[in-house]
Symmetry: D2
Subunit: 296 residues, 4 copies
């Protein structure tokens, strides 16, 4: 039976261990006063299939180095395989060069993990705009699960929506909006986003058909909240009803949550891929199901 | 002529550029609200020998990922070679496993840099306790320069020392104390350190011969200041005179500087490998001299 | 009708505004690059009763200065009254001097708020060990609400407890454990805590009667988790069943959540006085009820 | 003889103690895991004149609360008087309301210190644009010392300037530029700054007379470096020679130092009112001289 080891942002490991029945192993992880990370595997991993759980939110670089230290050390001590459960994966938006001279960050991160010895990886709603085959991009098997069905279920049970319509705040979000709309037997519309820079976007207008109807905005990730806030303003300008928001990854950088609420959002939900105050839905069960298929 | 590119902690690059006459290139380096680093090389590096300057103090993991992004991108754009000038190098104390299960951190970091494509590296007073050959350990040429001669010169000119003796606060510091003592034609003694854990050490006693004499404590690095503070207390117990401290790398984690001064230190000096309030000596000239030999 | 203004950690204000029907006002709050806070009231407050909502978790000193700036400015612009809704109040444990020379922190903070012009305050489960009358201590009316009934209700509906008993991890927690036990018609026991220092405690033993029974640990606050973790270990040594934890304020400093889960906790719940991944219960309704009585 | 007590950012206290011969007292200052500050005076202060040394750079709000805790506790233990030595004083730019609704931050901070019981204060090159009488503004005696003579001396001895002219980067800096120019028997010119927002300014042009001449830019404070960088660009556009910069307070927020150096600055100097990599001049002697006059 595989062994589940939680890293610093790997609290999901405990739920997954209970749901799968796979035992927990331990790693000692300390940040020293000079900023260096001390890493030690305290469980015997010789010959074991190890499932390493971590999230890369908020301080992705520190988590990457920690994860690489863990994978390398697990392999040094002869773990049979190391599978990463990384529900939130960083640098996914830099999946190509947009301007000459840019680092191809996602490719570099993929290489780091593969070179460290990672054998496979489970991610959730990977920000997948241009890439179509993660397994060939990463060079090891990648399973990309979706939390959209669980978010749809939560919205249906908890949000008091009247004649609702699903809204994708930009073209990239259509893939997610569609999943939720299908589950709820609703229509969806997509807004048009103009990106100014990394932190600023403009959404000019919303279609007339949202007028008088409650809206459920669906996206994979809320970072600064800029896109969703622009979407809400555009929707309100054409007279929409109540506004609800569902996303998988709630980064909520700086004062994003306060600004979202000040825009008049009625309800918000995200999953626990990133632990946040709006993480009302857990992905532990869909990850456990996937692990049971792989190692059952 | 090679091109010098400063990374986030690479202000030394500017001085080195002036001393060598090698032109500066530029990289755009931004930390996004979600914690990800945006990296872009803004200078044409095709066919160039690039000298990348960075320090890894305070947030070593973030600086490591940034450095790897830079090296990979420089190579993608066909830089002829990339030489790292990393005056302060992190994870140097974890140069083997002390306990079963530990990450062999320095080895992993070495592999990351070599796999990224680094061709050579200049470091200063690398915390070298057990390793003897950095070039074979890293797999590319490593030049380990010393700032001890410059620190000795500064101490001689600025510290008002009466019948002084050089003190190595522990066995590992003897290599540095010796260099300074030789330059100043002084004797040196070494104290005995017992390490309790990563943050705590004990130094029991100091030799009688320091009684009534001013002391110059020499070490490669001051992190939390624990070792030096223990040394000062032991030296004062046997009645030493005034206390001066010289080191290459002043990390000065938390309130180290205040605690050192409260111990009664008369004078402190460090270099600019790590920028600190006691960085009175620059290593820009010894780095420039080395670069001129390599690329002149 | 009073005006509700959210400060940086005041997202609860939005829910309270909806429940009470009191309108929202706005304050512009920015942290400048040099660390200074810029504060501006953007709503006309002349003659208004203002309800200022803030929490003091994680960076209490910064939030205190911000709150003082807000109160002073509201008064400058002739707000009729300023009532603080501060669900989590800091420095409550330093409610006297334990050793000679200590700052009487809570008294100083109380004076700062009173001098700034605060007219009244609503707090939730104030860490009230020695103080009995908050209104006379603060010098303005203080209403101390409890979230324990809501936590009891949540535990009853969501935790699968078999023959449960409520546990106060120390004497100070008995007041909270009692409330929850009463609501659930259960017994409670109190453990004995020995405090080593600010971060470390020991709990030696647990009474035999918890053997074989599920336990619901109840406290006002989880900071580093040290007390609760010691309690769990003591309870497990005498053979308790499943362990659940309920508290009002989930500070969860450093890796508290991971360490709690690694101890084998089955379920955890806290309120939204501090926003955390376990904030499954909202205090917005009990605060709203109180405000409606005051201003309705 | 008065007692000197260093707070968290009060390392200057040690130098001042040596220069004045006034003994050092101690305060225990710890930041707890939940962010609260623990403050304890460990020296008997009954009947003593206490000199409290602190700086407010980088995290001014935390330092303010710490300072208030210290003053209140010193007074509780019957210190005869408490004089603050606060070489860098925060919130000095918000010395009035620029827009309706703004907090009058400096006034509020002044009130906090006076109400806490502060009896007098020494500051250095207080950012004094509109205020003319600090003593009446603060309500206790304020001595505002200047480091400009020491900066002038340093520049004269260390900067290799050819036919130099002193430059005030904006109107507000004229008061400092004048002092330096007088000391060095040089002329000075002032540039015109247009402020866009808290972080951005524009300096359009520089007078013809700087053409071909080395310039010494003088200001009280460098925060993000925006003003000085704009000044350098304007000066270079009209063909100035080498550029040197002198200021009292080097906040150097974010990557200010790197950006300054990339602009081609030849030499930079600041004092130790804020500890920085360019703090080459100490204000300990001018502070000591002032204290000796007050308490000698």
């Amino acid at each position: 039976m595989p062994l589940i080891i939680p890293a610093t942002q790997g609290v999901l490991a405990i739920k997954v261990s209970r749901l799968t029945g796979f035992p927990l192993g331990y790693a000692q992880l300390e940040k020293l006063p000079d900023g260096e990370k001390y890493v030690r595997i305290s469980t015997d991993v010789e010959g074991e299939d190890v499932i390493l759980v971590n999230s890369f939110a908020h301080n992705p670089d520190e988590m990457l180095i920690e994860t690489i230290f863990l994978i390398e050390t697990l392999k040094d001590y002869n773990a049979k395989s190391v599978t990463g459960v990384f529900p939130y994966f960083p640098y996914s938006r830099q999946d190509r060069r947009f301007i000459k001279g840019e680092a191809f960050s996602l490719k570099i991160v993929a290489d780091l993990l593969r070179n460290a010895g990672l054998d496979g990886m489970i991610v959730v709603d990977f920000h997948l705009h241009r890439l179509r085959n993660l397994t060939s991009f990463f060079g090891f098997e990648v399973k990309n699960l979706t939390a959209m069905h669980k978010l749809a279920e939560f919205a249906n049970e908890n949000f008091d929506m009247d004649d609702p319509i699903v809204v994708a705040p930009d073209e990239e979000a259509v893939q997610w909006a569609k999943l939720v709309a299908d589950d709820l037997s609703l229509n969806y519309v997509a807004l048009q986003k103009i990106r100014i820079d990394a932190e600023n976007v403009i959404i000019d207008s919303a279609p007339k058909e949202v007028e008088g109807r409650d809206v459920l905005i669906v996206d994979d990730m809320i970072s600064t909240g800029g896109t969703v806030i622009q979407a809400i303003k555009a929707l309100k300008r054409v007279g929409c009803g109540k506004v609800f928001v569902a996303c998988t990854h709630a980064i909520l950088a700086k004062d994003a949550l306060r600004r979202l609420l000040e825009c008049g959002v009625e309800g918000l939900v995200a999953t626990d891929t990133v632990l946040s105050p709006i993480s009302h839905v857990s992905v532990a069960d869909i990850i456990s199901e996937c692990l049971l298929k792989m190692f059952g």
